[in-house]
Symmetry: C2
Subunit: 200 residues, 2 copies
């Protein structure tokens, strides 16, 4: 068993199907373009949270670091796109992000708790899927690039989880909500989205 | 004449009044807190433009770099706040940003042109005002910090202006619109906003 599967984050309720891996490997260019959008969106989500909670100094400090790192990954993915002659272009999002966002409750502090835990889950799933790309991608250099990003995704998962515990509720409340959302997250991915995406 | 006033950006129609300098110097803590918000907002504006024009590779590349740099400045300003024991907190915005934003026309390519030129003008004004703080701030270390940020603001001004010329229109159209917006920008600042802000 490779290091990428050893280091998986246990919160994910169901592992990614092999159907996703086959779809991704058969559409590496589209996956790379979608990955670019994912990194930009991840930076955007972190900055939006910073706008929403301007007094939360620990959140601000940690999310500033995450946003910077996502922008660096965005640059790196875009360099891969350029190297492969793939033009930047819009791409329909799979339902994943919107369906997760729909789970966010409207009242505080639930809103912050759900926002942080959903970001944590997305980072956990990204960690798993970049790991799978790092393992199965037939192009060694690209595979290596995917593996190089995995550690950050795992770290970001941890930061979002720690922030949830810091700001939101008793540990048991956080754990229970994370369990609920993790079930929903795996359910969303149980049907493979027909268009190849990082979160199809 | 100091280097900060020598290097001023000529597009600004009227220089900042001495009344603003007095207001700022008398309220350094509030100015620092507002500056933190300004840096975060500047990163947000760059990222929003990246979301709106996902295929514009030159814009994406340049604004990613700007967003990263604004986040670094945001971190640096927040370190200054921490050092002075000033808690992060929301702060009412002065009318400056909203009044400039109201000038953005809704049809493309005018919308992009106006967005870029308004960002250029805000960077130009920030360059001027950070320069004034660098010159008049009575605390040498803080004054030095303000001077250290000036070069970036001037560079960002240049990037926004180059992008406007790259994507939007003939040089004369860009110049004419920049002139119009620069007049409006100086008009907005002609009455000192009663609350001390970077753009009061």
């Amino acid at each position: 068993m490779s290091s990428s599967t050893d280091s998986k984050i246990n919160i994910l309720k169901r592992p990614t199907s092999f159907a996703w891996i086959e779809q991704a490997i058969a559409n590496l260019d589209t996956i790379l373009l979608d990955h670019s959008h994912c990194e930009r969106k991840a930076a955007g989500v972190a900055i939006n949270l910073m706008f929403r909670y301007p007094s939360y100094s620990k959140l601000i400090r940690q999310l500033t670091a995450i946003a910077k790192e996502e922008l660096e990954h965005f640059e790196q993915v875009n360099q891969w796109l350029e190297k492969r002659g793939i033009a930047l272009a819009p791409l329909n999002s799979p339902p994943y992000g919107a369906k997760l966002k729909a789970q966010i409750r409207h009242q505080e502090p639930d809103r912050l708790l759900d926002s942080l835990l959903i970001s944590a889950l997305i980072e956990a799933r990204s960690h798993e899927r970049l790991g799978l790309l790092g393992e199965y991608c037939p192009e060694p250099e690209l595979a290596k690039f995917y593996r190089s990003l995995m550690a950050s995704e795992a770290r970001h998962y941890g930061i979002y989880w720690v922030l949830a515990n810091n700001y939101c509720a008793h540990r048991e409340v956080v754990d229970r909500r994370l369990e609920e959302l993790a079930v929903i997250e795996s359910d969303i991915l149980s049907t493979l989205h027909p268009e190849p995406r990082i979160h199809s």
